[in-house]
């Protein structure tokens, strides 16, 4: 049967081509073993998209246990690694990532990173916070996502709308009316039909009986 985690980590370190690296990372990620986390995070900085996708999937499937190491990585200088780390955090949905997702959705210069961060703000697992903490964070998320519905890039606006839809369902104490108003405004005024359509879908979904 299969190799040990240590052997799989070694295989990643020894990989001599982009394809071999991607395959080795995929196999390491599939172990879902926390011992793989540092190696998976290192791979995010290798400028090898195939390997990075596999590493992000592996980190996302590990969930919260990977969050502290990912948050440390965000402080690093490697820009590419930072973008992938945001993507992994967005998939995990751990509230400890909130500050970095908020900051990134507000002001990262790369649209694909703003897009991933906005989406991540919509997938936070609010049950991991006390109701008071959740309510305070949700107010902040609402403000940033509403701002993101006016981003110059259509795909960031699109991601913000998708996130507002899930936020509206998970609201702890707040009234969803501001969200519905923001969605209505996008539906009526956005210049990009795909974005208007996403707002329509959100409004239809939120209006449907639960």
């Amino acid at each position: 049967m299969g190799a040990t985690v240590a052997e799989l980590i070694q295989a990643v370190e020894a990989a001599d081509s982009k394809g071999a690296m991607a395959l080795a990372v995929h196999q390491l990620a599939a172990t879902q073993d926390a011992a793989a986390i540092p190696t998976l995070i290192t791979v995010l900085g290798y400028n090898n998209p195939g390997a990075a996708v596999a590493a992000v999937e592996g980190l996302a499937s590990l969930g919260s246990v990977a969050v502290p190491a990912l948050l440390e990585q965000i402080d690093g200088y490697n820009y590419g690694a930072r973008a992938w780390a945001i993507r992994a955090l967005a998939l995990i949905g751990d509230p400890r990532a909130l500050p970095v997702l908020l900051e990134t959705a507000k002001g990262d210069f790369a649209l694909s990173v703003r897009r991933a961060a906005a989406r991540g703000l919509g997938t936070i697992d609010w049950t991991r916070l006390t109701p008071d903490q959740a309510a305070a964070s949700q107010a902040e998320v609402l403000e940033v996502l509403t701002q993101a519905t006016t981003d110059p890039e259509w795909v960031v606006r699109y991601a913000a709308i998708a996130a507002l839809q899930t936020l509206a369902k998970g609201l702890v104490k707040a009234d969803p009316t501001p969200i519905l108003n923001a969605l209505q405004q996008v539906f009526q005024q956005d210049e990009t039909p795909a974005v208007q359509a996403r707002a329509r879908l959100a409004l239809d979904t939120l209006a449907a009986p639960r």
Partner: protein
């Protein structure tokens, strides 16, 4: 990391105003400032007459020359004019189809496609002269003698049904991207979906560039049955989202959105897009 076009950073980092961009484009001392200003006016869709006029003037620039003899400012000015939607520039862009610089001809063909005016059809057809036999590579350059992709795509988008006999042989051109462009144009001109099936097959190619190209073609022609295949192909999420946007918006136009609400098909495409964010 995924590909995306980063705006070049302005020296000094100051944001431009329309007035400053126009002044930068009109001055002739700093070619870098002019080049950036032309891009900026297109990016921010500054369609006021002064901007259009300055960009048209830039199509005849002689000062900014690339090491290969090309005209970087003309290329950027043509691209920008394609984004501004002012059809009065069509004759000036048609002139650019005769420029010595391949990339100026390519930018002009793309801009003419975007403007949607049928006037350039005969000038575009002229670039197909000699057919596939003449459509060979330029020695030492990464491109063919003419920007066939852009020309074929423009003829398809502009509804040039009279060009079908000239376009059809390009389905057999040796460059796969040129075949794709021909298939895309012929679908637009005939409505025959077998041309789209050829593009769908390309989504399974081992070559990433080919998958990207076919995906963007399917998005550009808005072929709804391709949505699932686009979402599933191995390529960057950013590009898949753009292709799916094309498919979705084409369907939205046909289904009378926003007045008629969302169809089930539109909802399905939106679900695919959500998974790619």
């Amino acid at each position: 990391m995924e590909q995306e076009s980063q705006p070049p950073i302005q020296a000094g980092g100051e944001p431009l105003t329309v007035e400053q961009a126009l002044a930068n484009l009109r001055q002739t001392v700093d070619t870098g400032l002019r080049y950036y200003a032309a891009w900026w006016l297109g990016r921010f869709r500054v369609s006021e007459p002064a901007a259009v006029e300055a960009l048209v003037a830039a199509l005849e620039d002689e000062a900014d020359r690339a090491p290969d003899g090309g005209y970087p400012l003309r290329r950027n000015a043509a691209r920008a004019l394609g984004k501004l939607g002012d059809r009065r520039v069509v004759p000036a862009l048609i002139q650019c189809l005769d420029c010595d610089d391949y990339y100026v001809r390519e930018s002009a063909a793309q801009a003419l496609e975007a403007l949607g005016d049928p006037q350039p059809i005969s000038a575009l057809r002229a670039l197909l002269a000699g057919g596939v036999v003449a459509a060979v590579g330029v020695p030492g350059k990464p491109h063919l003698v003419q920007p066939y992709n852009a020309v074929l795509e423009a003829l398809g988008s502009l509804g040039a049904t009279e060009a079908i006999p000239e376009i059809t042989p390009f389905l057999e051109h040796e460059v796969a991207q040129v075949q794709n462009a021909a298939a895309r144009a012929l679908y637009q001109l005939t409505g025959d979906t077998t041309y789209c099936d050829r593009l769908m097959e390309r989504l399974q190619e081992p070559n990433l560039q080919l998958r990207r190209s076919a995906m963007m073609d399917l998005g550009a022609i808005g072929y709804l049955p391709a949505a699932g295949a686009i979402a599933a192909t191995l390529a960057e999420n950013s590009l898949k989202l753009i292709a799916l946007q094309g498919v979705l918006e084409s369907h939205l136009r046909q289904s009378g959105f926003p007045h008629g609400g969302l169809t089930d098909e539109a909802r399905q495409v939106l679900v695919l897009m959500d998974d790619l964010l």
